[in-house]
Amino acid sequence: MEQDRSRQVALMKLVLLVVVIGGWELGARTGVIPTFWTSSPSLLAINFWESLKANEITYHTWVTMQEALAGLAAGAAVGILLGLVLGVSRVFGPALEPFVIALNSLPRVALAPLIVMFVGIGFASKFLLAFSLVVVPIMLNTYEGIKSVDPQLVNMMRIIHARRDQVFFKVLLPNCVPWIFSALRVAISFAIIGAIVGEFISARAGIGYMIDTASGGFDTTGMIMPLFVLMILAFALDRLFVAASDRLLIWREDAR
């Protein structure tokens, strides 16, 4: 039964993929879909191949991924640390919470011009933008992870005379891990958005730069191809991440 269903799902995925891409290509060939506006799978494939041979797409992807991943790593480290500090401290946490939420509701991409003005158009501005998008949600989730701990577990630790650091490392921190993981998963795409937006504002390399340049020449294929590459990369990263977290969180009630 279960096996049948998962086979059906796999088949369905394949059918969907073939229908969408095939339909698009067919539409483009028969002229129903104007390739000037929406390109076509074969045009994209050719464009990708040439860009690969010229080592362009690889170079620009590398630039963007560096910015995004550096922003993600730094944002995660700082976010987790801040979240833990806020969660553990009975004064700082509640005091800072409204400010952090206000800051978080600020559309951070709107900060991009300001950031570029501060640190210039190089790596730093994209890194900072990615960082700023990632850090707050990770911090809030970590904080929530500490707040959501079952008080009975803390009572149990007090009965066995656990020190504060033991309560932290044996109860509070493990309790945060699923929260941190779910925030990290969302943060991957946030970091990429940050890097791309930074490149739109001004850059000399990166996927955002490629798209921007292509749009100057009304080259839809050149705009869409890097997007696809990015999408596939982000998707692969997400899969990888989910696989890793499933292994780490097997103890969870709903292991997914």
């Binding site: 149990m156 007090r158 009965i159």
Partner: protein, 280 residues
Amino acid sequence: MTAARKGLQVIPGGGEGRQDAVRIRGLGFRLLDRQKRPLPILDNVDLTLKDGEFVSIVGPSGCGKSTLLNFISGLVPVQSGSVEVFGEPPGGKDAAIGYVFQQHALLPWRPVLTNAAIGLEVAGVPREERSRRARDMLRVMGLDGFEDHYPREISGGMRQRVSLARTLVCNPRLILMDEPFGALDAQTKLLIQEMFLSYWEEHRKTVLFVTHDLAEAILLSDRILVMSSRPGRIMAEYEVGIQRPRNLEQVRHLPRFTELHDSIWENLRAEAMKAMQGRA
């Protein structure tokens, strides 16, 4: 230390031979309700537990039984009156107290073995030794073979036994138990009661046991205290007086069992009604 205590025992008329495990005098506790009016929860509770005694508390829901255990364990600071545990204020650094909560309070990210060993781990017992001791205790609880399972992978009865093992392996002098078997189905409950009874009859720790189940209270205890509806105070006290070692099947058929059961229930019924109407 032991010599001194032995010395005390031979002095004729020298007070109690052994130190009391718990001594509570005039314990009161009040909270503020929604309208900020004081709401008395416990009222002038007096209670003495002798060392090695098994005492149960029964009482209507919401009368303050869990609150009382929280005072003895030191989880909640005493508001008025006095609480002493082995002659010390509760919650001291080396108070050897165990507390079996109504919900098992296992760490979900730890397998059974390290859950059972957490008390030893926190106390700094070396890994080898704590693992050996935890394994032994899990075997007593009939849990061998489940050491590597996570709490979500075992049944409710097994979780409660892990929680019991975690408490007993630390060898506490006083064990507080808050409806530990309340959430179990009737058969599982019976088996665990039997197991715990034989463990207790061998080790004779001081136990304060909260339950809603009168039969359970009679089967296990030396003494049963009945609490009134809120504000809770000790309303009646019964010596069980059934010989040990006990056998659960036989105890149920003793005339003394029926007599106690009826008399406690008569006492409790009116209070339970009050508590229920208070809720409605």
